[in-house]
């Protein structure tokens, strides 16, 4: 196939990989934050403990987006570049 076409599909794939891959973690982090903020509002004394666990949870949810980022980076810089 023509190189320009292959490149175009590659870039499209990279954009779709990270774009679609970020939807799930975005929703997840939103729900997580909602829960954490509500918990902090109800029990402000426990907020340091909640904050620690919240950041851990956000990091785990974010990891899914990072796998999408890895795929996008591979498409951009490794496969056929």
């Amino acid at each position: 196939m023509e190189k320009a076409l292959v490149d175009a599909i590659r870039f499209l794939g990279a954009g779709l990989a990270i774009g679609l891959g970020a939807i799930g973690p975005g929703i997840g982090i939103g729900i997580l934050m909602q829960g954490a903020l509500q918990a902090m509002g109800r029990n402000p004394d426990a907020s340091s403990n909640i904050q620690t666990n919240m950041i851990l949870g956000v990091a785990f949810a974010e990891a899914i987006a990072i796998y999408a980022l890895v795929v996008a980076l591979i498409l951009m810089f490794v496969v056929g570049a």
Binding site: S48, N49, T52, I55, L56, V58, A59, E62, A63, I66, Y67, L69, V70, L73, F77
Partner: protein
């Protein structure tokens, strides 16, 4: 009245700087976006990557800071009881970090704290190198291996920049001829199609740095696990005792394999979380700076200050949580439920 004059002068200076920047903006030194770290020079055939140089600088700055903070305590100065300056900041940070590790790891906090604090301080200093002017923009002129180079323009005697408005295709023979890095500083050896290879680049925007940190952390997780639980640590992954129980035990055996896979994927997510955040931050900063050199980048510098801190905190906190998770025995974990 006086205030008004000061304000008018201030506005005039800003407008003047902006128009000057607009005039220079045509020659604006826009670093090439490259994921792998570049090597501006080599010592004895060994290419020295720009991120290696910056890593060493970050280490040196961190060591100087710690020695400045510890000076009075090491001397046994009675003044040390009342911390001031660097010592005060350092004690504040250590206090907060130790509180965090006690919060997460409980009785194991003292064993894990040195490692998580080291990771935090190193990653923090490495991330904040991004704020230093000249980062990723001052370097030697090289002919790019692929892609398009730009026409070099002389700013002052011996100092060059690239003109982004004048891309120059690399001639095939020139690319081969200049495979050895040419010293861009000398006019007689100057490339015709150039990119700037910076001397300094943020260490954590290089996959090698973040992957090394991630590997060290995950190996340490296993080391701490074996030291705390002995040979029984391996049952977390290959759960033979559960297999003998039959029924649900077979499921625990399969879950052990999933644990093994997630351990490997943690290396990946550790490395790419830090890389992605800091690399994207660097790109954001120089895109903003090239759009408008004054005022506009300021809030983004604030944002990057925050992102650098949060990423350092996340990296150290995740390593803390993983190590304390590896040290907790599976039986005590079950007893919790």
């Amino acid at each position: 009245m006086n205030k008004l004059i000061k304000f008018v002068i201030f506005i005039a200076v800003i407008v003047g700087l902006c128009s000057l920047a607009g005039a220079l903006g045509k020659l604006g030194n826009f670093p090439a976006v490259a994921l792998p770290a570049e090597a501006p020079f080599s010592i004895g055939g060994f290419p020295v990557a720009n991120t290696l140089i910056t890593t060493l600088i970050a280490d040196a700055v961190l060591l100087l800071f710690v020695f400045a903070a510890m000076r009075k305590i090491r001397r046994g100065d009675p003044d040390a009881d009342i911390p001031r300056g660097a010592q005060n900041i350092f004690e504040l940070m250590m206090d907060a970090l130790y509180g965090l590790s006690k919060n997460v790891a409980g009785s194991n906090a003292a064993k894990i704290f040195p490692i998580m604090a080291t990771i935090f301080l190193f990653v923090l200093f490495a991330n904040w190198m991004e704020m230093v002017p000249g980062m990723e923009s001052i370097g030697t002129m090289h002919t790019p291996h692929e892609g398009t180079g730009f026409k070099p323009v002389e700013l002052i005697a011996g100092v060059y920049t690239v003109d982004r408005a004048q891309p120059v295709e690399i001639a095939a023979h020139a690319a081969e001829g200049e495979a050895a890095p040419a010293e861009g500083k000398h006019a007689d050896e100057l490339c015709t199609s150039c990119i700037v290879v910076p001397f300094f680049r943020v260490p954590t925007s290089d996959i090698n740095t973040t992957l090394a940190l991630a590997l060290v952390t995950m190996v340490l997780v296993q080391v701490f696990g074996f030291r705390a639980l002995g040979g029984a640590y391996i049952y977390k992954f290959i759960n033979i005792p559960a297999l003998q129980k039959g029924g649900m035990g077979i499921m625990f055996f399969v879950v052990g394999f999933l644990e093994l896979i997630s351990e490997i994927s943690r290396i990946l997510s550790f490395a790419f979380r830090l890389l992605g955040n800091i690399f994207a931050g660097g790109v954001l900063l120089f895109v903003m700076t090239s759009l408008m050199p004054f005022i506009l980048p300021v809030p983004f510098y604030g944002l990057e200050l925050f992102v650098g801190f949060i990423q350092a905190l996340v990296f150290s906190m995740l390593s803390l949580a993983f190590i304390s998770g590896a040290m907790a025995s599976h039986d005590s974990h079950e007893a919790h439920h």
